[in-house]
């Protein structure tokens, strides 16, 4: 309970404080401090849940169960490492003159607020609040994306805002329908939107309404997950914002959206006897994987490329949850974890690489391994990991997903094979010359932050060869909640 209060309180307080002090040099460290506090609180919360099971809080408005607590911890952790990364990164940005003090203030405050909204979205028990939090997350990230105030960043932010705004609006419509269905059972008292109630009564929800509701919720949250063809905001937003923001966007926000989608899926599966939700997820997931793979082979901008790779992986995750069943759900959750770890690590490395080369155009970044071996290796290993090379964790989940798909949906495997092959060819073919070979780039004014990169990669590596038992228990419980 208190832990929860801290989890939500720290970032909120942080954003308020940094809203005034964010332009000072100390702010970077304050940012880290608050993120660290959040992380600690999240850990205690996790311990609590793992030891004594799920619980409700604040008159049932908040609900902590294995499914969301593991995302909470993940969010807090990546938030922490990203803040660590953003210390030197933003410092260098200031030196390069891309960030004014005012913008620094905005950046730091919004960074914490963004974390807050995500944590609320994860922990709330109220589908309405979930929606509110998602919208709020959108708003904060819009500000973060546009922080450079360049033409490109404005365009990206605008598109991001409009597309996600519309998407989220549709989700609201879905929520209204959900409420409408629930109202018949619970009456118009507040309880009707509480997920726990809905979950307990999902068998009795009216299928017609739920079907329609899920359609809207799917489109709505699917937009934020970045499922093709609702993905168009994603590459722009990732490419034009500051790199730490890109890291949290694809590392965390996509996960949160996916989480919202999963909550809806559980209700829908309960209410309908058809496997509508699963089918939709599978179809859109597969399309996303294939289309994103082909987009990958056209990229010139490094951050854009990895944004598309995020779309691809989200598609894979959606496909996994669509498959359903204990193994596939487990694989999906695992993939969410390793993807956010690996992808954010990649963005850290990419951030320093782009700062070194002074450009995001891949053809102009060369021979990182010569200038700073650590960044080079970070990028190399990260890319290999994200491409599903063992012993990194992404491989573990892809292994489970593909092998399960091979027998449950054989027709899908050729597409997956094609997509993964194309993705590998495109990404690796571009990363290789960036990392190896001759170079002309120069050193940085400040030392890059390497702890985040390699801690993430190490974790990803560990999840590939060894998953700690409590983590396993955690995953399996979560998978069970997803109707595995």
């Amino acid at each position: 309970m208190e832990a929860l209060a801290f989890v939500l309180g720290c970032p909120l307080a942080g954003s308020l404080i940094l809203a005034f002090t964010g332009h000072r040099d100390v702010a970077r460290d304050v940012n880290v401090a608050f993120s660290f506090a959040t992380f600690v609180a999240a850990c205690t919360l996790t311990v609590r849940v793992v030891s004594s099971g799920p619980f409700l809080a604040a008159s049932e408005e908040f609900f902590i169960d294995p499914l969301n607590v593991f995302l909470v911890t993940l969010t807090a952790f990546v938030g922490l490492t990203t803040s660590l990364f953003s210390r030197p990164y933003m410092r260098i940005e200031q030196v390069h003159g891309n960030m004014t003090p005012a913008r620094m203030r905005l950046y730091h405050s919004m960074y914490q607020l963004f974390g807050f909204t995500m944590l609320v979205a994860l922990t709330t028990n109220n589908m309405g609040i979930l929606w509110v939090a998602m919208e709020a997350a959108t708003l904060t990230t819009v500000l973060l994306v546009s922080v450079y105030r360049t033409a490109a960043s404005l365009e990206a932010a605008w598109k991001y805002f409009i597309l996600c705004g519309v998407g989220i609006a549709l989700a609201l419509f879905g929520t209204v329908l959900l409420y409408m269905a629930a109202e018949k059972i619970f009456g118009s008292e507040g309880g009707a939107l509480l997920w726990t109630h809905l979950d307990s009564a999902k068998g009795r929800l009216d299928p017609n309404i739920i079907t329609l509701a899920f359609a809207f919720l799917f489109i709505g949250y699917g937009t934020k997950v970045g499922l093709v063809p609702l993905h168009n905001w994603l590459p722009d937003a990732h490419a034009e914002g500051p790199t730490p923001v890109s890291a949290v966007l694809s590392g965390l926000l996509l996960n949160v959206a996916m989480y919202a989608l999963l909550r809806c899926k559980v209700l829908t599966d309960g209410a309908l006897d058809t496997d509508l939700a699963g089918k939709l997820l599978m179809a859109f997931g597969l399309v996303s994987v294939v289309i994103a793979a082909f987009f990958l082979s056209r990229q010139k901008d490094v951050k854009r490329m990895f944004a598309y790779s995020s779309i691809e992986h989200m598609g894979l995750i959606a496909f996994a949850f669509g498959l359903g069943g204990p193994i596939a759900n487990f694989a999906g959750l695992l993939h969410m974890t390793v993807h956010s770890l690996t992808k954010s690590a990649i963005f850290f490395a990419v951030g320093h690489a782009t700062q070194k080369a002074g450009t995001q155009v891949m053809s102009e970044i060369r021979g990182l391994i010569k200038v700073s071996p650590t960044v080079g290796w970070g990028m190399m290993l990260g890319s290999l990991a994200i491409l599903g090379m063992p012993p990194f964790g992404v491989f573990a989940s892809e292994f489970l997903i593909l092998t399960t798909a091979m027998r449950e949906q054989p027709w899908a495997t050729p597409f997956l094979l094609l997509a993964l092959g194309v993705a590998f060819a495109s990404v690796f073919g571009r990363v290789l010359p960036m990392v190896f070979g001759e170079t002309t780039v120069k050193a940085l004014p400040h030392a890059p932050a390497l702890l985040p990169v390699f801690s993430h990669l190490a974790l990803g590596l560990m999840l590939g060869v060894y998953i700690p038992p409590y983590l396993v228990g955690w995953y399996t419980q979560a998978a069970r909640m997803l109707g595995g």
Partner: protein, 219 residues
């Protein structure tokens, strides 16, 4: 009494739908804002009536909220914005209004057809309005698609929010208060941010024509 109220709500629904159509075909930004204000007003009224019928005090609150937000605050903001950006007398050329109308009608039929089974077994006094709300959502969506200037696009976005509110209040008897507050807050912040953006876009591209925002692409 109650079925009079029901008819009243249906009337409001019709008005809102009509206003949506009007917006879809309206060329001038200023009148767009007026239409939007009207829509907000109707929405507030409808909410109040629903509150009166179902005797739910918190609906009055949300009616008031709607009034303040969508009749006073946002229109005012919009007015000041177009004042500053001096696009008050802007007229944008729409492609072929009749076609858009036809599309709109098709959408309305589609929406009704979609909502029909639900409305039938809807408990609340005016469940039939769900179809209208859905239609409004789709219409505003279309509007956003065909508008090529920033402000009208935003207004389309807002009218979509209106439709959602309408669905929330009339189809169901109002969302929980906390949710409504949250939504309202989001909308407000959103419109503020959009406002800021418009100025920045303006100074970047010295125009609000979003056709300038087509640099980032992959083809």
């Amino acid at each position: 009494m109650s079925q009079l109220a029901g008819q009243l709500i249906n009337l409001f629904a019709a008005v809102i739908l009509m206003l949506a159509f009007a917006m879809l075909s309206q060329r001038r930004i200023l009148s767009l804002i007026h239409l939007f204000t009207l829509q907000g007003l109707t929405l507030a009224a409808a909410t109040a009536v629903v509150g009166y019928v179902t005797a739910q005090p918190h609906l009055y609150l949300s009616a008031g909220l709607t009034f303040v937000l969508k009749v006073l605050l946002i229109p005012m903001l919009l007015h000041r914005m177009i004042e500053r950006l001096d696009v008050r007398w802007d007229v944008e050329a729409l492609i072929n209004v009749p076609t858009t109308m036809l599309i709109g009608i098709v959408l309305v039929i589609f929406a009704f057809n979609l909502a029909e089974p639900i409305s039938r077994l809807s408990s609340s006094i005016a469940g039939g309005t769900l179809g209208i709300a859905l239609a409004c959502v789709l219409l505003s969506f279309t509007m956003m698609i065909i508008r090529s200037k920033a402000v009208p696009q935003v207004i389309g976005f807002l009218s979509m929010e209106n439709a959602l509110f309408f669905a929330a209040t009339s189809a169901t008897t109002g969302m929980p208060m906390v949710v409504e507050l949250g939504i309202a807050l989001d909308v407000l912040v959103g419109i503020l941010i959009l406002g800021v953006f418009m100025f920045q876009i303006r100074e970047q591209f010295d125009s609000l024509d979003i056709r300038h925002l087509e640099k980032l692409k992959d083809n």
